[in-house]
Amino acid sequence: MNANDFLSGGFAPAPESTDHFEIKKTYDLYIGGKWVKAAKRFQTTNPANGEVLSEVALAGKKEVNQAVKAARKAYDEIWSKLSGAERGKYLFRIARLLQERAREFAVVETMDGGKPIRESRDVDVPLAAAHFFYHAGWADKLTYAFPGAEVSPIGVVGQVIPWNFPLLMAAWKIAPALACGNTVVLKPAETTPLTALKLAELFEDAGLPAGVVNIITGAGETGQSLVEHPDVDKVAFTGSTAVGKAIRRSVAGTGKKFTLELGGKAANIVFEDAAINEAVEGIVTGIFFNQGHVCCAGSRLFVQESVADKVIKKLQKRMESLVVGNPLDKNTDVGAINSASQLERIKELVKAGKEEGACIWQPSGGVPRKGNWFKPTLFTECAQSHRIVQEEIFGPVLAIQTFRTPREALTKANNTPYGLSGGVWTDKGSKIFKMTTGLNAGVVWANTFNKFDPTSPFGGYKESGIGREGGLHGLSAYCNLSH
């Protein structure tokens, strides 16, 4: 039998092509509508094979200052004076341009970040465009969004975004800021700067006035200078809880507004009366979507004892059919781990899980030799006190615990410093309402998981953050409202 015969269970390679666009050898900083050089550069690589994709500028204090100045100028002279309808026109234009170049953005996102093309193509890029469309619609209707309130923009917004959804997070941040009349300095994560820089190209094509959005690349220090810059009126951050805490300390007493989207350790709760097969699929989506690099990932599975064996068996069978490999292949379900340091973090916690006595299970397939890879993994026999249950792993690792009663499930689910998301699986409507009211989480899904929509606010409780993004709640975070 041929190696890729249908009966063999494999797939002949089906890679998305990469010859229809250009990734430049070097990228500068996008400040005041111009490409500005910086003294230092750093490399961004493809985590699936270690190849260098491009060299991008490293913004220091000077460049950050320059970017904030450009944003202030654009705010004072142009953007804050523009009518809502005019701002909306730009946003609609950006959304349409993004749709037109959807394939290019999807491929670059996958190359730079390691996520499967299926996800960047079907989730990241369409959702990013949807966010621009949604907020374009609000731009001239802000007085209707907040009836009775006087709505005004905040000013210059400093935004720092993570590496797990680089383009989508840029859209989440930029679209509402512009719709409400603010100008932006955005810093993408150092491992995934390319789609944000491509987005800058797109802003140029859209004719967006110079300085309205400035994109500066760099690592933690660049982000810190941006957040601490005195002329920034609002800080929006998505990333780790540790950095979020530092940011909150640094903005304390400054009068800066802020929203923080931080870590999570979501409980996904499966009851015995759930649609079991669909629940298994939801568990898979919950934890293996984007290699588990998702702040709202369903990383703790609580399954009722009476169905635990059945669910785990089905889950393992399903995991055997996950295709792990080249992220650009259309059949890939699980891609590469975003960076070597993240891979180390995952390995460390998995080691801790084994040492603490949880039982590890991984599917039989292999992973590519080059690049950063980690197999989809689950742990059974987990206890509430295990590190893999308490700490955010941010990788394709699921910790499974069992429960006996709804009350026990709720207690354990809420027994975490985080409170970003959660999931409930049951065929009984009343149980859904009882559980979702009891869960201390910003987003709770019932009989589904990891569903996002621009109209729906997203954000956390406790150490998962403060403020909401998306929907009216998200919009209000970018306005001054006076009644």
Binding site: N2, N4, D5, F6, L7, S8, G9, G10, F11, A12, P13, A14, R118, D122, D273, A274, A275, I276, N277, E278, A279, E281, G282, S321, K330, N331, D427, N447, T448
Partner: protein, 304 residues
């Protein structure tokens, strides 16, 4: 084939089905991309899983004979393609079909039990099964009494399937649920569980005579039922989606689904069939396209 009949299952033992979840999962199989040798081998596999079907009032001896030829040699000159699994006809045409496929691997399936509505006394319906088997049918495609199912008389369905199984003797029994009339996935799941317990060798979606025939999600629900039944009893049951599968692309999506849900063990025509009349030529056309890189005119493929 001797099949053990299991006790009548309670409806609460069938798991709930979440409509949104099933439809999303089914959609995901459509995102699989089959290329080159994977595609070619899947196309050829699909041809061998065809139940080439004609179920018209106008069916005649001549029509059935021509169709049997096509089933035996779908692509004249290329023996690596086909033969199809079976031909599927009304009981009156069984004798003609048996004669026409004699000496080949193609089996003869007959629809029976007052196909397509099933609205007749069980006695006469069983008589029809016996008649078709007596005429030489290898397989019987029965319909369940959807009216009774929807009235809540589940036991009657279980009993009629068990009775048909007995009447089949050596012939294999396919049980048509007519999923388009059962309407909900929960009903489909329970009807599947009941039919398998009563001795079905295959479960089949549709007659092709009502507007909603086979769909990927409904087939997925039935495949999951088969999977759970196999886990519980160790007995394999076959699956036959029928009606509405008119092109090769869709057929391959079904095969991908079977491969990922049940595994390669089910990828033979002993355990999976397509009930279709117009699918054959599109499969053949795609096979030629894979070989030559070009689409040929429809006139190069026989219309039977």
């Amino acid at each position: 084939m001797k099949t053990e009949v299991l006790p009548f299952p309670a409806r609460r033992d069938s798991p709930a089905i979440d409509q949104v979840g099933v439809e999303e999962r089914a959609q995901r199989f459509c995102a699989r991309s089959l290329k080159k040798e994977t595609k070619m081998s899947a196309l050829k596999l699909a041809v061998t899983m065809l139940d080439v079907t004609t179920l018209e009032g106008a069916d005649s001896v001549g029509k059935v004979r021509q169709m049997c030829q096509k089933a035996m040699r779908p692509l004249p000159g290329d023996p690596s393609v086909g033969p199809a699994a079976a031909v599927c006809v009304y009981p009156r045409m069984v004798k003609t079909a048996v004669k026409a496929v004699e000496g080949s691997k193609v089996r003869v399936a007959a629809v029976a039990t007052q196909f397509p509505s099933g609205q007749m006394r069980l006695k006469e319906r069983l008589g029809e099964v016996k008649y078709a088997v007596g005429e030489g049918a290898d397989e019987i495609d029965m319909v369940i009494s959807r009216g009774q199912f929807l009235q809540g008389e589940y036991r009657a369905i279980y009993d009629e399937v068990a009775a048909c199984k007995e009447a089949c003797g050596e012939a294999r029994l396919k049980v048509i649920l007519e999923t388009g009339e059962l309407t909900t996935y929960d009903n489909v799941r329970f009807a599947s569980d009941m039919s398998m317990a009563a001795g079905a060798d295959f479960i089949k979606t549709s007659t092709g005579k009502v507007p909603i025939a086979a769909t990927l999600p409904v087939t997925l629900v039935m495949l999951q039922a088969i999977e759970d039944f196999y886990e519980r009893t160790g007995r394999m049951v076959g699956m036959k989606p029928a009606g509405g599968i008119s092109n090769a692309k869709l057929a391959l999506q079904y095969l991908v689904m079977v491969r990922e849900v049940l595994g390669p063990k089910w990828l033979t025509n002993d355990w999976f069939r397509f009930g279709a009349s117009s699918l054959t030529n599109d499969l053949l056309m795609q096979i030629r396209k894979q070989e030559t890189g070009r689409y040929q005119s429809g006139d190069y493929f026989s219309q039977d």
